[in-house]
């Protein structure tokens, strides 16, 4: 069969989730033997598209042609058999097995259930050797660095004779020299007839290895063109953010009161010497892309993760203990509301007061009437849509769950409220409700820090914006009408 020029043709692809169109009429082609980069902000629809290609999601409508043939995978196994392999950020290797065992995992040759040494293993090892000779096949995978684990996965994909290898942020967790090595390997793959779909937030990398680049925004396909025809990174950034009109918010004049929160040289395995201060009554936004260290910073301030350096709140040094932070007047709405914020098997009534149970009890005993009243008060105040406070938190929608988590934190009566991705995965209506709650709190004199990977979000509600990239604080801006979103995106994608 004559190979088609395009290895993959995507036509009018649509994917709907309840209330959201994640992929909206996307059409573009991927040429054979190229490195095709996919860029866009968080939530642009990249991951959804990839998940459709790997069979994790089924599309709502549209068509995908693989080598000119209709392609409709129903499982990751399905798509692998048709020649698409994926390197996820969470690597798919088994630490407790040797490199060799990992390579043949799932396709071992066996006799009566016992492993047989066959040519397959030799072939696999040969492929690995050509990619990275320094890896010993008998070595345990747990002893390898992240970069070398990636190479094991790449070898596996190559040996399976995949036409397409998708790489999702492969450089997020590896060092500079390892990145260079990885790029050499990726270029080698292209020269051996493999098409690589490369996703990264680091725009410089696209100019380094990309042949083509596709930009997505808000689920839509914006443009696909050869990288050689892209002027510079600011052109890419323009395509990525478009002419989004941000809801106007005029930051209040800061009264320049005393700093309420002061961080000195915070460092841990994900944070790199971060120092900043936050003034009382301010709304501060930490903005950065996935992996920039936002959640890690929030957890460090809250005392949930260990760190070096010092944090002072109202002049008192904070400890490595959330209990202490809450007592001092700090609360956190965590990133993952279901697994970190909510007690999903318990009712709304049981969830709301957990951070301040002293307030609904006397001598260590909970007063049930007070407890009920508190829950009713917050259901009313935050407009939590439920017919009863006895409803299990698990049965609420995402937006209402987030409001329950917010209620928990508000009831703790803290002076500093931190919110990590406060509106992730919730619908537009609930989003704007949460913004107005945040503004109202601020007008009541609370200090608020938002950690977000959505630029419109921080531009919409924050007085100051702090930019994070790769665990470091890169820049501090005052929010205003003249704020330059292109410049911001330039910084958080690693530009100088």
């Amino acid at each position: 069969m004559e190979p088609t020029e395009n290895v993959l043709e995507i036509k009018d692809l649509v994917k709907d989730f309840p209330g959201v169109r994640a992929v909206d009429n996307v059409s573009f082609d991927i040429k054979r033997k190229t490195i095709h980069c996919l860029v866009g902000e968080n939530g642009a629809g990249k991951s959804t598209l990839i998940k459709i290609l790997t069979g994790a999601y089924t599309r709502t409508s549209g068509k995908i042609l693989l080598n000119g043939e209709e392609f409709d995978p129903h499982s990751t196994r399905d798509s692998k058999q048709k020649g698409i392999s994926t390197l996820f950020q969470e690597l798919n290797v088994v630490d407790q097995l040797t490199v060799e065992e990992n390579l043949t995992l799932g396709m071992e040759d066996t006799t009566l259930g016992f492993l047989r040494k066959t040519d397959k293993i030799n072939k696999m090892v040969g492929v690995l050797n050509s990619i990275e000779p320094s890896i010993n096949p008998k070595q345990l995978v747990s002893s390898l660095s992240v970069a070398k684990k990636q190479m094991v996965e790449i070898a596996k994909a190559v040996a399976a004779e995949c036409d397409i290898i998708i790489m999702d942020e492969p450089t997020a967790a590896i060092s500079e020299s390892e990145i260079a090595r990885l790029f050499t390997i990726i270029k080698g793959l292209r020269d051996n007839n493999v098409t690589v779909i490369y996703i990264s937030h680091r725009l410089d990398e696209i100019f380094e290895i990309g042949d083509y680049v596709t930009v997505m925004r808000d689920g839509k396909h914006i443009d696909t063109k050869p990288v050689s025809q892209v002027h510079d990174r600011s052109e890419l950034i323009k395509l990525m953010i478009g002419k989004t009109v941000f809801e106007q918010y005029t930051p209040r004049e800061s009264d320049c009161s005393e700093p309420i929160l002061l961080a000195n040289h915070l460092t841990n395995n994900r944070l790199n010497d971060i120092s900043f201060e936050v003034r009382a009554g301010e709304i501060v936004g930490f903005y950065g892309l996935v992996g920039a260290g936002k959640t890690e910073l929030a957890r460090a301030i809250y005392g949930a993760d260990a760190y070096e350096g010092e944090i002072f709140f109202k002049g008192k040094k904070l400890k490595n203990d959330p209990e202490y932070a809450i007592a001092a007047g700090i609360t956190l709405v965590p990133e993952e509301r279901r697994s970190q914020g909510l007690f999903t098997i318990l009712t709304i009534r049981s969830n709301v007061p957990v951070m301040n149970m002293g307030k609904i009890s006397r001598n260590g005993f909970i007063n049930e009437a007070m407890e009920r009243n508190v829950a009713l008060e917050y259901v009313d105040k935050l407009k939590i849509a439920t017919n009863s406070i006895e409803k299990e938190a698990a049965k609420l929608s995402g937006g209402n769950q987030q409001k329950v988590v917010l209620s928990k934190c508000l009831f703790a009566d803290a002076d500093l409220l931190m919110l990590d991705e406060p509106t992730r995965g919730i619908d537009v209506g609930a989003k704007s409700e949460i913004y107005s709650i945040i503004r109202k709190l601020s007008s009541e004199g609370k200090t608020i820090i938002i950690f977000s990977s959505e630029l419109p979000e921080v531009m919409n509600i924050c007085d100051s914006i702090y930019l994070l990239y790769d665990g470091s604080l890169k820049s501090t801006l005052r929010n205003s009408c003249e704020i330059d979103s292109e410049k911001i995106l330039h910084i958080v994608t690693g530009g100088e």
Binding site: L332, F343, V379, E390
Partner: protein, 340 residues
Amino acid sequence: MEAKKDRKPILGSRLSDESFITLFMVGVLILVFSFASLFVRNFFTIQNVINLITNNWFVIIIGIGVTFLLITGHFDMSVGGVIALTGVLSVYFSQGVNVSSNPLANGLGLPYVVALILTLVCAMGIGGLNAFFVTRLRVPSIIVTLGTAMLARGAAQVITQGAQRNTSLPEGFGVLGSLGIPGTTIRLSLMIMIALILLSFFFEKRMIYARRVYLIGANPVAARLSGINVGKYVTSLYIISALLAGITGILLASEYNAGMANRAVGYEFDALVIALLGGVSIAGGFGSVLGMFVGALILSVVTSAATGLLLSPDWQFILKAVVTFIAIMVQRYALDRRKG
């Protein structure tokens, strides 16, 4: 405001599913009890009903600690071993010094009260050891507590040279175990059990401490981020559980006037089974001491009725196995409902 119309009964207020499971198991209890009363001679008598409870006081007391730990998502398989060790220690500490050429007759000669206090301290030490491994070193609790169970029983074996200590006991050693209402089978141990059940029933519904125990079981990560010191709570529960086992060990040693290394073999499994039968979830966050008590009664009715019917006591383990499987199925049902 719609929510204000809500007038759900207090009974189902914390977890409606939990009350449902407890009520369901009460129904099962009534069913098996009626069945036994119909077919077993002399089953439906007041004395027998009292016996059903008194014969199980020890499992129910240790069941309280086991239940609260299960609610946090942790096992305590060391309680049987702790009963054996504390029984032996209470004897050894109080036996006279150099009273005989038989080494098993010589102890430390401490006053009985001091001996008991020291014994309970040792029990709490085992609980602390459990907690240390579970909360600090993050070893799965089932492995840790099976290990400390060996340790405790092993120590009991060494002290008794694999047998028992029952000579040169101080005067009054047997008082605690035999104290009771004359002419009945009601003893101090039973009264302690009833007091503990009432206390836990009262506390588990309304005390902040108990509420936090449920929160930890429901979601340990969220509990920590909500400012609950998870390690502290789990540690205190392991110490309480070991303390309850220690009290049980002392009472049993007093009742039999002997400290035996092979006392209470398998009690930890009985405590686990009755907790599961009573609707306590292995996954944590769900269950109650009241449910555990109902579970204990069901197990007691089933085993005693079967013995009275036709089976020889040899069949006891098979029966317990059957009951355990039923308990697990009820569990499954409870968990499915919870997800539903």
